[in-house]
Every structure is written in C-alpha cells, then in structure tokens.
C-alpha cells in the first residue's frame, strides 16, 4: 500500500544548497526537512499551526513549516535554523544574543523563535519591546521564559543597528 501513495520529486534550495529529493504529497515542509534532508533542527510541536516551533523562512519570510506542504516548496529558497550561522560557524547576532541572555532555555521552541526573529529584525531593526513581543506572539515557549527571549531580541536589534552603522 505505501508504494501506491502519491509521491513526487521536488527541487529546492535549503540554506544555500540545492536539493532534489522525493517526497510524499502529504508531507509537510517541516517533515521533509527533518526526514527527507536530515535537517532535524526544525522542530514540530503541535503540527496544526499554533505553537510556531516549526517556523522556517521560505523566500525570506517566516512561515509555519507544518502548514505548508513540501511539494509547495518546489523552486523555493528555504532557510532553517541550520542556515543562520555563517559557513565558518560564527553565530548570527541573534544567536549570539540568545546565548548571552539565556534566551534558549530548553531549546525546543528556539529554532522557530530564531527564524521568526531573523526575518522580523531584518525588516524592523528599530523594533521596541512591545513590537518584539507582538512579533513573538506566534511562537509558544513552554518554559515561559519570554523575558530573556525579549531581552536577547532587543540586544540583537542593537547589534544589528550598530553593524548597519559601521
């Protein structure tokens, strides 16, 4: 029976590298990234669009990886948590700020939060605390440690702004 399930081959660019792989039609993008490409940094929490743990960037914009099908990512540019650091391993300003401010905690929701904030701070480098809290409203942290997450985001925003000035 599994052989009869609809499948197709998709080609997409993930973290700058082109991949061509077969997927079942019903696979979510997040499942495809994890099981098809072995990129297990993207986490699936609720799998119905509430928790935000599976957030990845598709063509630069944050989307729920559990609510988009892998087959819909044909030809798209996808960025996951594995793609945020530089090729030489240097953390992004946001990742560094999360380390410095204890924004990670248990780490399960962190990939979704980092991808969400990467896109948000790129578009809103002057974001203040209420704006960052609203931007985070689609990501649930069950450690409930939002204060350190917000502190980290504000610190990253400062670093990004200073970098832009330099």
């Amino acid at each position: 029976m599994p052989d009869a399930l609809p499948r197709r081959r998709i080609t997409l660019t993930v973290n700058g590298k082109e991949h061509s792989a077969e997927t079942e039609d019903r696979y979510s993008l997040a499942d495809f990234l994890r099981h098809g490409l072995g990129l297990t940094g993207t986490h699936l929490g609720c799998e119905h669009g509430v928790c935000g743990a599976c957030t990845v960037l598709v063509n630069g914009e944050a989307v729920r990886g559990c609510l988009m099908l892998a087959v819909q990512a044909e030809g798209c540019r996808v960025t996951t948590i594995e793609g945020l650091a530089d090729d030489d391993g240097a953390l992004s300003p946001l990742q560094q700020a999360f380390m410095d401010n204890h924004g990670l905690q248990c780490g399960f929701c962190t990939p979704g939060i980092l991808t969400t904030l990467t896109a948000y701070l790129r578009d809103h480098p002057n974001a203040d605390e209420p704006e960052i809290r609203e931007a985070l409203s689609g990501n649930i942290c069950r450690c409930t440690g939002y204060d350190t997450i917000v502190r980290a985001a504000l610190a990253a925003a400062r670093t990004i702004r200073e970098g832009a000035k330099a």
């Binding site: 399930l5 609809p6 669009g49 099908l69 819909q72 689609g138």
Partner: protein, 291 residues
Amino acid sequence: MKPAPFTYHRAGSLAEAAEMAATLDNARLLSGGQSLMAMMNLRYVAVDHLIDLNPVAEIAGIAIDGGRVTLGAMTRQRAVLESDALAACCPILREALGFVGHVQTRNRGTVGGSLAHLDPAAELPGMAALLDAEITLTSRGGARTVAMADYPQGYMTPDIVDGEILTSVAFDLWPEGHGWDFREFAQRHGDFAMAGVGSLIALDADGRIGRAAVILIGVGDGPLRLRDVEDILTDEAPSGALFAAAAAMAAARPMSADALVTEAYRQHLSRVLVRRSLTRACARATEAAHA
C-alpha cells in the same frame, strides 16, 4: 506527517484550477492553507485531491479604482496589512488585519482562503460584512457574484457550490474623512477573539452621524452586521449616551457559548467593545472634519 493521503495538483492558471475543481472527486482548493492544512493535520478534513491555487497569479493583487477596491483571492493577508494605498483609503483594514493570526500565518494566509473558510471569529469575513462586499465565484461555466449579506449560509458554510473557486472580493470605499475602529478581545494577541467589533462612521455637514456600519465577530455563526444599531445611530449627534444605548442594543441579542466563554460574558464583552469602538470611530471622524 499527519494528513490522510491525497493527490496534490498544482494549478497553473484559473482555467486549469476550474477544470480540476469541476472534474476531481472529493477535492479541496488550497490557498494559504493556514486553516485547511491544520484541519487536515487533525484529520477533521480528508480529501482525495488537493488543488493548489498558489501558482495562480491572476487571482492575486490589490486594485483601487474609482472608489472601489478589488482584492484578488490569493492576495496574502500580509499584503493587505502592509498596503499603504489601502490604509489611506480604507484604514480599518490595516487595523483589523493586525489581529489576524501571527506574522507567520499572515505571510501565507490569503483573503480568499479566510472568506471561504468563514470562521465566525475571523476578521476578514467581518470586514467584508462591514464594507458590504461582493464576492465573485468562478467555475468552469463562468462567474457569479454574491453579496456578503447573503454569503454565509450557517456556521462555516459559505454559499459556494462544488466546482466554484472564490476569486475576488470587492467593495465600495467610504467617503474620505470617515471614522473607523476595529478591536477585539482574545486570550493572546492573534488568537481567535471571544468577541470583536468593527465600526465605520461618516459624519454629515452638521456633525451628525450620516452613515454608520457596525459588525460583531466571534459571537455567533458568522459575522454579525448590526443593522438595528446602525439605525439608531443614524442622524444623531455623537454622544456618550448614544454610544451606550447602541452598545446595550448590540449586546441584547443571543450569542454563542463554548467551553471557555459563556453567552453572558460574550454579551458583556460586546457591550464594552461596541461602546469603545463607536467612541473612537466618531472621534476619528470628528478629527478628520476639523483637520
């Protein structure tokens, strides 16, 4: 993966999508997928065929022409929120879209998807009801237009028959200088509202309310247009007593109850929200008149 098996179909054009919708059995149209994919993951919905409208660029976009706005069904919610042209002529849309889910869901979610899904707490059907929108449905046989007033047939049941594709929504603009307000009460920003209200007010030359439109969302089977409230506001001078009377009238109707919220609490929320919303919409209209 969570959904039951289905075959995915990429529609390259509206004609192709209409052909697929007319011929495939147990098929559903996929736009943003922010509700449908969740329902399929939960297996509330199981389909044999999924027709993806995302590549159909011809039904996406915002057109403002001669006092009328047309939103293509595949227009992303984020595009509506971020359109400065729309915010200039119909500012309530930006205020309401800020309450639609979260940035991640607005990046994918579409205008047409929300209208087709017709969640009672959804902001976009509420806006369509408030603005007396017309919805265009296209099938292999042609297109037809439905007034938003006739479109909801019951709880999450739009007037769409098999083979039809919601392709656009259009509405006439309110006069320049009108007042507006949208607000809602939810447990968390972006969650489904326990109650939400939208108001539009146009003042006449004497500073009286020449025209009013008010809707409630999240309190019944669909967006609730408050015609009786609009009637008692019209031709009156704005005042706290008038807004309180209008709010009491809005809250007097039967409302839904669920595991979290009683009917009485929804009525209470509606009364408070309607009074505040009318107050702000009238203040904005007055401010525009003196600008």
